[in-house]
Structure formats: structure tokens, C-alpha cells
């Protein structure tokens, strides 16, 4: 296969040869582009327009032509004609001529003004790129709208909850149970492992400092308070946001894409009642329990590390732990969990129901659900800290 070539042996003559195919055209592809400068000097001569007025293109040596080659050829010829030349193409095989006519067709069908100004395919005005002020305003209003619809969604969920309280037969116990298992029981290993490791890390970081002052036993205070008040609820919520919040969004989003949500609505079943409410309730029940589990494993991790690094035995550790950590500390940690759970489940379901279109949208909404849920959890935790410090808890 010879590469496509275009040459101009004489001012009035063009020679085409080789394979005018997507592969044969080689890099760049537009052979007429490289030809144009060569044609220019002849054009530039005084009285030259007459010289380019009649061009004979010899295509007898063209071996192959595909749609890409035909497009390049067509565009090139159009451009030459636009410069005022009359180009006659000779020696092209009949099959190739047909292909060339096919490329020409849309232009012929399209704008009637085409003969007057050909070779101006990109004449349509490109809308100017919006400036950064414009885009900032746009994304701000989008964010506000998003917040408003989220508020509407919370309202709908509250209405559904009120409806279920009024008609207890409408509770979806099976769905709630199923969600408790998938979001709660199945998450025990990962929550346990990560909080154990977190306890180890906290104790290890403390060990060096405490040993310096001979305050080894205070490792129990440090691990106990930090795990129970902050780390256990937070790490559990973040794991569940990544694990279950995303699962909620993806499940509901996929159902939206496959018309299942529409089908539910047309069957007279509220998606809020069947899908959203059981998830929120299940998570509000599950997350505090998981937090307790994380408390236990986290403190245990700290205990293991305290014995290995500081020589504080389990009995001493627990003895000190009971004195140092009040029930209030324990309850403030657990008390945050239902709020985190509501945030995670609501955002997961909300983003799932907002899914429109196809697989892309499911991925986007799932990502959003995780990011926004973790963001929401941390903001809520910060607000809790402020509130607790004001309340002296």
C-alpha cells in the first residue's frame, strides 16, 4: 500500500496517487493543506487568477479511497474552487466517484447557499465562552437550587414518616430488616478492624509523650476519651457513608435509570415509603450500635498497645478507664450517631433519586453522595463540638 500523495507537476496540474484512506493519508491527513502554499506563489503573480482558473486533477493512480480520503479530497477540491479555480477531476475509478458523490451529498441537500460559499463548514457562530463571573454565578445558583431541592426532599421524607406513623400497617419491616443487615451486620468486620487500628494508633502516638513524664497510666484517659467522644462515632460514620451511603445512591440511581422508580410511582407505591424511609430508619438504628462496637474495639486496641509499649496491664488500664471516662462522654459519642446516620441516608437516597439519564449519572450521583455525606458528617460533628463546649458536656 503506497501512502497517499498529492503533487503539482505543473501550475495547472494536480496528480493524486496512492491509497487515499484513513491509514494511507498518514499523519495530519489533509494533503491539500500542504499543497496550498505551493499554489500560493502562482496565485500571487500579477494577473495570476487566470493561471489557476483551470486545474486538471489526475486521479488515475489513486489505488484506494475510503470515506476519510473522500472527505479530504472533497474538502480540498471545495477549497480550491472557493479560491476561484475550476477543478476537473479525471481518471477516478467509477466506484470512487460514487463515494465522492456521497460525501458531497449532505452539502447538496443542506443549505442552498452552498454553491456561493462552499468550504465554510465551521461558519456557525460559536457562542462565546462564559466568563468566570458568569460561571461563578451559575454554580452558586446551582448550589442554592440543590440545597432547596434537598430541603424539599427532607420534607417529603418527613411526610412519608408522618404517614407511616399514622398508619402503622405501612411500615416496611422487611425492608428495614434487610437494610439493618446489609448496612449494619455486614459492616461489623470493617468497622471493628478500623477502629481497633485507630485505637492502636492513638495509644502509640501517646505512648512516647506519656513515658517521658512517667504518666503511663493516663493512656487510658487519652484513648478512652478520644475514642468514645470523637473517633469512634466519626470513623464509623465515615465508613458507613462510603459503604452504605454510596450503596443507597447507586441502588436507587440504577432503579431510576431502569424506569423502576417510574414503575413504582405508576403502581401507586411511593418510592419515599418503600425505598427511602426504610433506609433512613435502618441506619438511624444501626449506626449507634456500630458506634458502640467501634468504642469497644477502639479501646481494646488502645489497651493492647498500652501493654506492649507502656507496660500498663489490662486490669490497670480498665481500672483507670472507669475512673477517667464518664457515662456522659460515652453518651455524647453515641448521641451523635443517629444524626450522622440521618445525614448519610438522606443524602444517599436524595442523590440516588436525582439520577437522570444513564450509567454516567449513576456514577456521578454516587460520588456526590459520598462526598456530601462525609462533608455533612464532619460539619455536624464540628457543630456538636461547639454545642457541647457551650453546654459544658
Amino acid at each position: 500500500m503506497n501512502p497517499a500523495a498529492l503533487s503539482r507537476p505543473a501550475p495547472q496540474q494536480l496528480t493524486l496517487s496512492g491509497s487515499w484512506t484513513a491509514h494511507g493519508l498518514g499523519q495530519g491527513g489533509d494533503l491539500f493543506e500542504t499543497l496550498a502554499p505551493a499554489a500560493q506563489p502562482t496565485d500571487a503573480q500579477p494577473g495570476a487568477p487566470a493561471a489557476t482558473a483551470a486545474l486538471a486533477a489526475d486521479a488515475t493512480q489513486v489505488e484506494a479511497l475510503d470515506t476519510a480520503g473522500a472527505w479530504v479530497l472533497h474538502q480540498g477540491l471545495q477549497r480550491l474552487r472557493a479560491q476561484g479555480a475550476t477543478v476537473t477531476l479525471q481518471g477516478l475509478r467509477p466506484a470512487f466517484t460514487q463515494l465522492l458523490a456521497l460525501v458531497d451529498k449532505p452539502a447538496a441537500d443542506g443549505a442552498p447557499s452552498d454553491p456561493q460559499n462552499p468550504a465554510k463548514p465551521d461558519d456557525t457562530p460559536v457562542p462565546p465562552r462564559p466568563g468566570w463571573v458568569n460561571r461563578l454565578g451559575h454554580s452558586s445558583t446551582e448550589a442554592l437550587k440543590d440545597a432547596a431541592t434537598l430541603l424539599g426532599f427532607v420534607g417529603e421524607a418527613a411526610l412519608a414518616l408522618a404517614g407511616c406513623i399514622a398508619h402503622p400497617s405501612r411500615w416496611r419491616w422487611r425492608a428495614i430488616g434487610h437494610n439493618i443487615r446489609t448496612a449494619g451486620v455486614d459492616a461489623l468486620p470493617i468497622v471493628g478492624l478500623l477502629s481497633f487500628l485507630l485505637g492502636v494508633v492513638v495509644a502509640y502516638q501517646a505512648a512516647d509523650q506519656l513515658r517521658r513524664y512517667g504518666a503511663n497510666i493516663f493512656v487510658a484517659d487519652l484513648v478512652g476519651l478520644s475514642m468514645l467522644r470523637e473517633f469512634a462515632p466519626l470513623i464509623t460514620a465515615i465508613i458507613i457513608a462510603g459503604r452504605s451511603g454510596s450503596a443507597f445512591a447507586a441502588q436507587i440511581g440504577t432503579m431510576a435509570v431502569t424506569e423502576e422508580i417510574d414503575a413504582l410511582r405508576t403502581l401507586g407505591i411511593s418510592p419515599q415509603e418503600l425505598l427511602v424511609l426504610p433506609k433512613i430508619i435502618a441506619l438511624v438504628i444501626t449506626l449507634p450500635l456500630l458506634t458502640v462496637f467501634a468504642d469497644v474495639l477502639g479501646v481494646f486496641g488502645g489497651m493492647v498497645m498500652a501493654r506492649a509499649q507502656l507496660g500498663v496491664g489490662f486490669a490497670d488500664f480498665l481500672d483507670r478507664f472507669v475512673k477517667a471516662v464518664s457515662v456522659t462522654s460515652y453518651l455524647t459519642g453515641i448521641g451523635k450517631a443517629p444524626v450522622f446516620a440521618a445525614i448519610i441516608a438522606t443524602i444517599g437516597c436524595y442523590q440516588g433519586l436525582r439520577t437522570r439519564g444513564g450509567a454516567d449519572s449513576v456514577g456521578l450521583q454516587t460520588t456526590r453522595s459520598v462526598v456530601q455525606a462525609i462533608f455533612g458528617v464532619i460539619v455536624a460533628d464540628a457543630l456538636f463540638s461547639v454545642a457541647f463546649s457551650v453546654l459544658d458536656l
Binding site: E259, E260, D262, A263, R265, G268, I269
Partner: protein
């Protein structure tokens, strides 16, 4: 909620809209309207999808909506089944004004119609049998065992073998999905059935099977059927009346034979071209014998 549609007190009688051009080949007897759309307007942003659209669907007819892509057929269907709210106008379905329904009325109305979605809309987490039984489980106090039996019978009615009931939607072929979706749409013996592209993506044999099934359902239960379709064979063989949507309005309503006489370009596109002509020829040639092949397996 039976099939005693003739005795429903809330069915309004109706003076046929001006767009109607007769009942064509339809078997519909009365003039009472099941669906009435009046001056419906819908816009998406700047784009006007419906612009003062009027339409009437009569009882016990098979009514098809056609139109080019983007002509607003699907949106119109979604507006009729409470999935989308028009910006202006009035929609009455089964005698109820859709724009003023409260939640309880909407749930009640949903039980009087069945919808078959283009891709089935079957619940992926439930088996076919559970899918078909779901509407009964939700809205009736029937025994679980009884629901399963009725659902299995409905599957048979839709032409599916009993073994299919235990499969999940992902394990079904395209034609089986449509049949299962139809069985679910018929679960509560609706008065009104909406079909979104019932034969799209099916091989010709399955498509003919679905066509036959749709006609059988109408004849059996006196159902009113509204469908969106691009399938010219379905239009010729099944539809009693066809509405052509273009430019936000109903351009014409009538049987295919009547529409074939019109010469507006928006209508002509469904009759000209090789497919249109083949379907027309097939319809005129094969109309009587198709009845004999109508028994589902």
C-alpha cells in the same frame, strides 16, 4: 376494582374533540372519553414541547401516539400517568382531573391503570412472579399464596411459561421482559393500559406475539389501550386510532387508513418510504389470517 367499566359512574360522556376524524376500524362503541387533554402546554427551558395540545381517547379503543423523536410523545404519556406535570392545560383521566388530585386520590387512580415501560421497569431485586404479584401485595389484602397463584396465571395469560416466574428480570430475553411487564401492568385488572414502545427492540416474531397479545387483552377485558410506537406493523395491525404529534400539537387523528389519505408532510413520513409501504401492503393483505395465529404458547 374489577372490569365492570360500563357501570362506572364517573366516566364522563364526551363530545369528540375537533381533531377526531371518526372511529376508523375501531370496535369502540360508545363515545365516552377515558382520557381528555385540553390545551396542554409543556416546556423544557426554552423549548416548547406541547403548545396547546388537545386529545381525546375513547373507551375500549387501541390508541397510538406517533411522531418524530422529540415531538413529545413520551412526555405526553408521562403526563397522563402522573409522572410529569404540564405547565398549563387540563388532563382528565378516567374522569379525574390529574392536576388537582390529592395523594390518596392519586394512589387510587394508579390502581385503575397499568403501565408497561419501554424497558419493562421490572424490579431487578424481585423474581418475575414477585414483580407481577407486587401490585396485589401492595394494594389488596389477599393471601400470599393466592397472590402467587393469580400472578402465575397472569404470566400464562401474557404468554409466559410457569418456570419463568422463578427467574429474575436480568435472566429474561427482550420479548419475555415485555410480556412480564405486561403481566404486571394487568395485575390489578386495570381499565386503562399504557404501553411505551411495546414492540421496540423485539424480533419480528416476538413483536407479532406482543401485538396479538395487546389485541387479545382489549377484546378480553374491554381495556382502553394507549401506546407509543414506532412500529409501523403494530400501527397498521393493532391501532384503532392514531394521533400524529408534531410542532407541539396533534396534527391529525384517525385510523391508519384515514391518515394514509392525508398529505401533510408530518403525516406522510409514516406512509412513504419502503417500510411504510411494506407495512401498509402487509396490513391490507394479511388482516384476516392474523387472527388464527393468535394463541400464545
Amino acid at each position: 376494582m374489577g372490569t365492570d367499566i360500563a357501570t362506572r359512574p364517573d366516566a364522563r360522556t364526551n363530545v369528540s374533540a375537533d381533531t377526531g376524524t371518526g372511529n376508523g376500524t375501531g370496535t369502540g362503541t360508545g363515545t365516552d372519553a377515558v382520557i381528555e387533554l385540553h390545551q396542554v402546554a409543556t416546556r423544557f427551558g426554552e423549548h416548547m414541547v406541547h403548545d396547546g395540545l388537545d386529545l381525546t381517547v375513547r373507551r375500549a379503543e387501541i390508541f397510538a401516539l406517533i411522531g418524530g423523536s422529540g415531538s413529545g410523545k413520551s412526555t405526553l404519556l408521562r403526563e397522563m400517568i402522573l409522572l410529569h406535570r404540564p405547565d398549563a392545560g387540563q388532563i382528565r383521566v378516567l374522569g379525574q382531573d390529574l392536576l388537582t388530585l390529592d395523594a390518596a386520590q392519586a394512589v387510587a387512580l394508579c390502581q385503575r391503570w397499568g403501565v408497561m415501560f419501554q424497558h419493562g421497569g421490572l424490579f431487578g431485586s424481585l423474581t418475575v412472579l414477585e414483580n407481577v404479584g407486587l401490585p396485589m401485595r401492595e394494594h389488596t389484602g389477599l393471601d400470599d399464596r393466592l397472590i402467587d397463584q393469580i400472578a402465575a396465571w397472569k404470566l400464562g395469560l401474557a404468554g409466559l411459561a410457569p418456570e419463568v416466574g422463578a427467574l429474575y428480570p436480568a435472566e429474561l430475553s427482550g420479548g419475555m421482559v415485555k410480556r412480564a411487564a405486561l403481566a404486571r401492568a394487568l395485575a390489578l385488572d386495570p381499565e386503562l393500559l399504557f404501553l411505551d414502545e411495546p414492540t421496540a427492540g423485539l424480533d419480528p416474531v416476538s413483536a407479532t406475539g406482543v401485538d396479538t397479545l395487546v389485541r387479545q387483552m382489549r377484546d378480553l377485558f374491554g381495556l382502553t389501550i394507549v401506546m407509543i410506537t414506532h412500529d409501523l406493523d403494530t400501527l397498521w395491525q393493532v391501532a384503532d386510532r392514531v394521533a400524529v404529534l408534531a410542532d407541539g400539537k396533534v396534527q391529525a387523528v384517525g385510523s391508519m387508513a384515514e391518515l394514509a389519505q392525508r398529505d401533510e408532510p408530518a403525516i406522510r413520513q409514516f406512509f412513504d418510504g419502503p417500510r411504510g409501504r411494506a407495512a401498509q401492503a402487509g396490513a391490507t393483505a394479511a388482516n384476516p389470517p392474523r387472527e388464527s395465529s393468535s394463541t400464545p404458547r
